[in-house]
Amino acid sequence: MLLIRCPFCGPRDETEFHYGGQAEIAYPADPSALTDEEWAGYVYLRDNPRGWFHERWTHSAGCRTWFNVRRHTVTHEIAQ
């Protein structure tokens, strides 16, 4: 059971959160300017590293805040 630190509510059990996938994938400024391949990259392609990963979570059972977490995908260590 991961202990995730919500920036507003503090540390809570993982079951209070929903996972939001890789962080820092910005919505393209002008999707219509992208090729099909570039757009598919935005929609479908994400990193899947063995190691540190920058990812998003939302505190859905609490304050509903979306925030970023750095988590190690092998050890589940969370960088504070």
């Binding site: 059971m1 991961l2 939001g20 910005a26 929609v43 479908y44």
Partner: protein
């Protein structure tokens, strides 16, 4: 009880307990385990082995026991060494495994609870006790667990003296000095998970002859610790030689503990076979108890036991040493010690093989964890105490006691002796050295492969005494270092636990929240048949006496199409959206336009995910210039709110927009049918409201919202009143002539109009265009979520599956495949019998809309005719009703004067449960609550998020959204910790503190309003679930 010693031990000879084993009446003493009582009664053979049927007896002393498997009452498989004896216990031996009676339901109470601490110490032996003592001296919040009924660990079974006094005196003194430490005995840590999360089983009533039914038999504790100190001790291991499994062969430490702790001689004439010094103390203690020691065989002197000899009953009669037979009925074996590294390894700590003690020991910690004492490979009581105290983190002075135990020399590595056949590595799985040799001969080198091939280590004991032995045997056969062979993975649980324990109280009606609307009691009284939609109970149909479902649905449909009918539509998600930029925001979220919507107008919208697929749909209304009300599908309400927050917070934080869920605040009655106008105008609704408009109306003296929207194609109105008035409004609508209908009729009516249902016609691969809803997809907007995907070649393929209508001679099965000469082209998504059309019809997704087609399911092939997906009133002629029935509004000559709270039905049950109890629950009736996004609205508002407030003042009325339950009494916190994972320690969660979190399986706001008083704010639709959860929890305390 011929093998019971007259004095000594920790049993209470004044309390004789009667029990039966395999039907034979016996007695033991308070303080016995079933195993010690069986040995006292000279029961040597407890059961048979699982594969070979060999006789087996007691081998160990605790949870490491591989042999002495018993059934006790309804518990199909336990180890006799861990069953505390009680009066009336009835046990029987097993042949290697228990049998679960499939008809048996375990009705005992089980539960769980959560605690937090700075330091969690696992193991109450000398090292753990010293660690807990030191940690408590440092001022830390400390929890100490031990699986035995009393603290002391290995000292319980030793004759060792500390500072010249019995070692248990030191234990008692140390225990008395533990200040503020929460001590849990009979509690076994079974799992060590991420971020110092340790799960333990407390056996609360298993040791009692009369188990109070209201107290949970076992409790699953969830501990979150700042630091974990593991002091889990060590397991002695055996040596593999032929016949090492016979009853009478026992671990030397176990034999020693039986005489010292239980005052039971496990035999009369013993041979000790060892490669470590600890067995000499066992020999001393056995001799002191009157057991004749025939000889001590120390492998370090070159002697070994090479086989055993059985008596007529199959139990031990002698052993072979150097070719001669020595008669004995007890063989005390010591093959060295394995530190109990299970929890350490579960925590993802790395092990190393210690060549000095020939065992795997903790190497690198992966968490804030420290192993101390024997589980770290440390030998000697004084050294373990010193190590434990140092780990506890006290700045104080502590005198390490002086032990009289002899200093131990390192053990030798001895894994096997004698032949391979019948030399058991794993007693519980009947795995021999020969089996391991065969697996290696077959080419296996990995211990994981050998484990799976031989099944060594896969028994209920999970190889506690055999695992490292298997590694040792492999290393001997391979000529490799055991450290290079490595161990198998240690996985939770450390000891077997029952599924009933894991389920806890989350069984029956508490297995998942049951959400109900404000009108639920009326539906029940009317005999509705319910359908589960997400967690909601929705009326499926309302059968009259003896009516079938098909007949009821036809009747309900006919009422909606020819007269007037009503449905409880409260479950649809409702989100109040405010701000200067709501229009812009909705233009980006929905595929169609909302910024241009007039105030007071409603519009149907579709929202897509970025891949262009339909995600949700519903009607959104512009309530005011900067305020909209969005409705979502019933099952998607929470997901849509997450979705809106995600886009706002992560992509468009510059937009002024905020969201308040009002799903539970508003109760919704849909009034449908050509005669619906007469009914709603009689209530005070303006009868001339145009289609797709909204009005605020006073209904029966209550501020209501009325929407002239239709999901059936008929003239229809959705009347919304706050939760407390929903039931009365519903009853009034029915009294005035509406026929109640359920979700099945709703589905038929909408399908006749060709309206898709998200999740039924869609499955995450369907675009709005596939549904024929290009009209709801804006071509003018520069962008919306999913727009770019709609321009991808795949979204524009000519052969995509599209929504079609089907006629057939009989009703098709939903999910049936559609087949043409070209093969499978699609599937049926909805299929009903239509009252209006008087024939079966269906909706389907198909890539082909031409040519002969059949629907195929099971063994059926039914020809279908492809038609338009709009079956009823395609010109929309009926949705405004007949102009001649447009009366003006009546003045409100009636009153919604009976507010009914969500907990109305629980008032009496709360009162009964709370009478004379140490904890009580009651409802706080009908408080005014408003939510605000932005600045603090004052009046003691609670801050729920960075800019999110709830209190008596504010922007959006949500008084019906939540119901408040007050929990009071000195045991209120004990109730809350059985369902709330947060740290509710009064030092952390002070008076006035509040949190949004989970209680049971419901989302709540929990506020501590006084020393022993809490307010729980729960969504009104979850209030019944929470009340049932609380009443169930209160049961434990209403008996005290």
């Amino acid at each position: 009880m011929t093998q019971r010693l007259p004095i000594g031990g920790r049993v209470d000879r004044t309390r004789t307990l009667r029990f039966t084993f395999d039907g034979v009446a016996m007695t033991g003493y308070q303080g016995d385990t079933l195993a010690s009582a069986l040995l006292a009664n000279e029961v040597r053979i407890v059961g048979r082995s699982v594969d070979l049927g060999r006789p087996r007896g007691v081998f160990g002393i605790g949870s490491e026991e591989p042999n002495a498997l018993v059934r006790v009452g309804d518990d199909p498989m336990l180890t006799a060494t861990t069953v505390e004896l009680y009066d009336g216990l009835a046990a029987s031996g097993l042949a290697g495994k228990g049998r679960l009676d499939p008809g048996f339901a375990d009705d005992a109470r089980y539960d769980k609870a959560y605690l937090h601490c700075d330091v969690l110490v696992v193991g109450g032996g000398p090292a753990g006790l010293a660690a807990a003592l030191a940690a408590s001296e440092s001022g830390a919040r400390v929890i100490l667990l031990d699986e035995q009924p009393e603290l002391g660990g290995s000292l319980l079974g030793a004759r060792e003296r500390l500072d010249g006094r019995p070692a248990m005196d030191w234990v008692a003194a140390a225990e008395a000095r533990l200040s503020g430490v929460q001590v849990f005995t009979r509690t076994t840590a079974v799992g060590y998970y991420d971020h110092n999360y340790v799960v333990a089983v407390e056996r609360r009533t298993d040791h009692l002859a009369d188990r109070p039914a209201h107290i949970s038999r076992q409790r699953l504790w969830h501990f979150r610790a700042g630091r974990v100190i593991l002091a889990t001790g060590a397991h002695e291991r055996s040596i593999a030689f032929p016949g090492n499994d016979r009853p009478g062969v026992m671990l030397a430490s176990a034999a020693r503990a039986y005489v010292n702790r239980y005052a039971v001689r496990p035999g009369t004439r013993a041979v000790v076979f060892t490669c470590a010094d600890s067995a000499f103390a066992a020999g001393d203690d056995l001799r002191a108890a009157g057991v004749e020691i025939a000889t001590i065989v120390d492998a370090r002197r070159g002697e070994t036991v090479t086989r055993t000899v059985a008596g007529p009953d199959g139990a031990l009669a002698g052993v072979e040493i150097g070719g001669r037979i020595v008669e004995c009925d007890l063989l005390a074996v010591c093959g060295g010690w394995n530190p109990t590294v299970h929890l350490f390894s579960q925590s993802q700590g790395r092990l190393r093989y210690d060549q000095n003690i020939h065992a795997f020991v903790p190497h690198l910690s992966a968490q804030a964890e420290q192993s101390v004492g024997a589980c770290r490979g440390t030998y000697g009581t004084a050294a373990c105490i010193e190590e434990g105290y140092a780990a506890g983190g006290s700045a104080g002075n502590f005198r390490i006691p002086v032990s009289d135990a002899r200093h131990e020399q390192p053990p030798a590595a001895l894994w096997t002796s004698g032949a391979q056949e019948e030399a058991f590595v794993d007693l519980q799985r009947d795995v021999t050295v020969a089996d391991v040799a065969r697996s290696i001969g077959a080419g296996m080198r990995s211990v994981e492969h050998v484990k799976r091939y031989t099944t060594a280590g896969t028994g209920a004991d999970q190889g506690k005494t055999s695992g490292p032995g298997t590694v040792g045997v492999m290393s001997a056969l391979l000529g490799a270092d055991p450290g290079a062979v490595g161990t198998t993975t240690y996985r939770p649980p450390y000891v077997p636990i029952s599924i009933a324990l894991l389920a806890g109280r989350e069984r029956g009606i508490l297995s998942d929240p049951i959400r109900v609307t404000s009108m639920h009691a009326s539906h029940v009284a009317r005999g509705a048949v319910f359908e589960d939609v997400g967690q909601w109970k929705r009326p499926w149909y309302f059968p009259l006496d003896g009516e079938s479902m098909d007949d009821a649905v036809l009747r309900e449909c006919a009422a909606a199409r020819t007269a007037v009918a009503a449905m409880d539509a409260s479950t649809l998600g409702k989100i109040d959206i405010r701000g200067a930029d709501v229009g812009v925001f909705l233009d980006r979220i929905y595929t169609n336009m909302y910024s241009t919507l007039a105030v007071g107008a409603c519009r149907y919208g579709v929202m897509c995910t970025a891949d262009g697929m339909v995600f949700d749909d519903g009607v959104t209304t512009r309530l005011a210039e900067e305020r909209y009300l969005m409705t979502t599908t019933t099952g998607n309400a929470a997901a849509v709110l997450d979705w809106l927050e995600e886009w706002h917070q992560t992509e468009w934080p510059e937009l002024d927009v905020s969201f308040v869920s009002v799903t539970d605040h508003w109760a919704t009655v849909a009034v449908v049918g050509p005669r619906s106008r007469e009914l709603v105008t009689s209530l005070g609704v303006p009868g001339d409201m145009p289609f797709m408009t909204y009005r605020e109306v006073g209904l029966g003296g209550v501020a209501a919202r009325v929407y002239r929207i239709s999901f059936s194609g008929e003239l229809a109105w959705e009347l919304n009143v706050p939760w407390a008035y929903g039931r009365t409004l519903w009853e009034t609508v029915l009294e005035r002539g509406a026929v109640p209908y359920g979700t099945e009729t709703m589905h038929v009516l909408r399908a006749e109009k060709g309206f898709p249902i998200v999740g039924q016609e869609t499955d995450g691969t369907v675009t709005p265009q596939d549904l024929g809803m290009s009209w709801a997809v804006s071509k003018r907007k520069p962008d919306y979520v999913g727009k770019r995907s709609h321009a991808r070649p795949d979204a524009m393929r000519a052969d995509r599956k599209r929504l079609i209508g089907l006629f057939s001679a009989e009703r098709l099965a939903e999910g049936a495949q559609l087949v043409t000469a070209a093969g499978m082209v699609g599937h049926v998504t909805s299929s009903y019998h239509s009252a209006a059309l008087d024939r079966p019809f269906a909706l389907a997704l198909s890539r082909d809309a031409h040519g002969p087609m059949e629907a195929v399911w099971d063994t059926r092939r039914v020809p279908v005719e492809i038609v338009s997906s709009v079956f009823y009133d395609p010109e929309n002629l009926v949705r405004d009703g007949s102009p001649s029935t447009w009366p003006v509004s009546h003045e409100g000559d009636w009153l919604l004067d009976r507010p009914v709270s969500a907990l109305d039905a629980y008032r009496d049950r709360f009162a009964v449960a709370g009478a004379d109890a140490v904890v009580r629950a009651r409802e706080i009736p009908l408080a005014i609550m408003r939510e605000t996004h932005g600045a603090d609205p004052g009046e003691d508002a609670m801050r729920l998020g960075p800019e999110w407030w709830i209190g008596p003042a504010g922007d959006v009325d949500v008084s019906g959204q939540r119901t408040i339950v007050e929990l009071t009494g000195p045991r209120a916190r004990d109730v809350l910790i059985t369902g709330c994972a947060l740290d509710l320690d009064p030092r952390v969660f002070g008076v006035g503190a509040y949190v949004q979190t989970m209680l049971g399986r419901a989302q709540v706001i929990l506020r501590r309003v006084d020393d022993d008083a809490y307010h729980v704010y729960v969504r009104s639709s979850f209030a019944g679930y929470l009340a049932e959860w609380l009443l169930d929890a209160l049961a434990e305390w209403s008996h005290t």
